[in-house]
Structures are given as C-alpha cells and as structure tokens.
Symmetry: C2
Subunit: 190 residues, 2 copies
C-alpha cells in the first residue's frame, strides 16, 4: 500500500501494513516492523508508543491516497466521480490487501477499536462534497449525508467482492440514482 509523508514515517507505516497482512494484529510486534522497515525500534516507539497507535496511524495513512474532491457543480456528478474512484481504490492491490486485513481481524475487539479511527477518517473524506451540495440546497432536510457515501461504498464493495461482478458506468448510474431519487413512485412520497 502506498503511504505518503516523510520517508522514515512512510517506510514504518508501510512495513506495519505488510506485517499486519502477514502475521495479523495479534502477533504483530514492533521489533518485527522495525526490522522490516530497516529502522531502530526506538525510532518507532518515540513516535508511536503503543501497537494500537502504530496500527491506527498505518490504517489512517492509507486514506491519504483515497482523497478525491470532485467539484462538478452537481451532487449527482460528484457522486459518480466518487464512485468511480472508490471502485478503482477497492480494486487496487492495496485496497484488496486492506480488505483482507479488515476481514481477518473482524472478530478481534482491540483491532476493531483501532480500526474505528480509520472509519472516522474515511467518513471525513466526503465532507467537502457534502458541504457544497448543502450550499446548493441539494440535500433533503434532516439527512445524515455521510450515510450516502458509506452506503455507496457498501454497495460497491459487495458488488466487487461478494458478488464477484464488475462495476461499469451503467451500474454506477443505477446505484447513484437510487440513492439520490429513491425507489418510490413520485405520487407515493407523502
């Protein structure tokens, strides 16, 4: 997985993700991360005093490459752009490795607590898109718009991995239009 930032930080966080993918969260040791990254373990402890902090930082670092801030002037076009980008990220080697880590650890409460910070970072990504849509008055009153993006991610992930099917632009339009317009006939929206 690609991690941005200064080289030492980047090297340590990449090594953490690789160790995590290889041995899992329970067996991950900071000594082994240090060896893999070619740094002294005190270099790691100084910045990330606990395993939880190190793994949390490694997971959050992944979201940096996931940032996309479309500003097409319409929520529908912005969502289509986000959906295309999500599809590319999920299909990438890094996205698939991260998915396998999350699945392998899904019944480990300590890991899930650490992963909670990662989810919060993910939830924050679409905020600018939501804010501009609000400015244009596009969102239904009272809606928690972060759900829109989380549901989009859920649907794309299920399609790619559980159903094992490709995502083309026709499918993306179906998803986005259902999420924006809803399934009800216009005269039943009372």
């Amino acid at each position: 997985m690609l991690v941005r930032g200064e080289p030492v930080v980047r090297g340590v966080l990449e090594a953490t993700l690789e160790e995590l993918a290889t041995v899992g969260y329970g067996a991950l040791r900071i000594e082994d991360v240090a060896a893999r990254a070619g740094v002294n373990k005190t270099t790691i402890y100084r910045r990330w005093p606990t395993k939880q902090e190190l793994v949390g930082a490694a997971l959050r670092s992944v979201t940096v490459e996931w940032v996309i801030q479309p500003n097409t002037g319409s929520l529908r076009e912005d969502l289509l752009e986000v959906g295309r980008h999500m599809t590319a990220v999920m299909s990438s080697a890094g996205g698939q490795a991260l998915r396998r880590i999350l699945i392998a650890e899904e019944r480990n409460p300590e890991f899930m607590a650490v992963a909670g910070q990662f989810r919060e970072a993910l939830d924050a990504l679409p905020r600018p898109v939501i804010e501009t849509a609000k400015t244009r008055g596009e969102l239904a009153p009272g809606l928690d718009a972060s759900l829109l993006f989380r549901f989009l991610a859920s649907i794309l992930q299920h399609r790619l991995f559980i159903e094992g099917r490709d995502i083309d632009d026709g499918f993306l339009h179906q998803v986005v239009d259902l999420l924006l317009f809803g399934a009800l006939a216009p005269d039943k929206r009372t």
Copy 2:
C-alpha cells in the same frame, strides 16, 4: 447451517457446507462429504453427479431458511421486516459460516460460477414483495426493484462485519428511508 428437506438430502447438504467451511472448495472431495454424512458416496453421485452440482445445491439449500414474505400492505414496512430478518440471518452462526466460505473462495472462478446460482436464488426471494408493491403502484417507473433488496443486504452486511457495528431499528429506518425517498431535496428532483 440448517438445511431443510428429506433427512438424507439434508444430511448430505449440511455435510457439504461443513466440508466447504473446513477444507475449502478446491480440496473438497465427495468421498469426504459422504464419510461426514455417513452415507455411501454413490448415494451422492446419483443425485449430484459433479462437485459443482453438489456445492450449488448446498448453497441454494441455505436460502430456504432465509425466506420471509412480509405482507404488511406497505413497501416501507415490508422492507423494514426484510431488513430485520436479514440482520438476524447474517448474525446467525450459519450466516457467518457462509460469509466466511464466500470470502475464502472469492478469487476462485469455478466456485464463483457455482455461487452465481446461489445469488440468483437470493435475488428471487423478494419477488413477491416487489410484485405486491408494483400492484399498489409504489415503485418508481423503470426501477429494477431487485437492486433495492441487494443494496439493503450490502449495507447491512458492511455495517455488521466491515464496520463491526450493531444494527438497531433506528439504523434500519435510516437505510430504508434513504433507499425509498432518496437523498435529494424535493425541489431538486427534476
């Protein structure tokens, strides 16, 4: 996983799912399924001549316990009932075992082809709910309503397993209302 039907069939299909969970699709042998079920392997070959047919039948058999046909008189209430039932099934030991099988085999093309029949059986489950909603004129014209149920399942699964969070009735209402009413403000639906 609970499988209904006549006892021998049931025993063989349950043994197939257990073998699948234990050794995976690639290593699954009909002899081992027969031994686990306590039947002669010719008993299996007579009914399911190939491994693909046997595993396909075992996966389809699981959907029998997933049938729910609410008929509350409103699509919204029907969807909430389906959502509650999906949540219970996904959270059950059988549902979780099946999920682990699907994840373990997701990069095996032969298994994914067999699992395609299972997906079709799943897609067929909500048809009566869709038909009555159509009769009441509740669905937007041109909508592929099976997507509504597939997206509901995707969102609930993501919430339970990837996010590791509970599903309560408040969350279910948020999901169903977004899927039915959409995220757009009423005056932006042109």
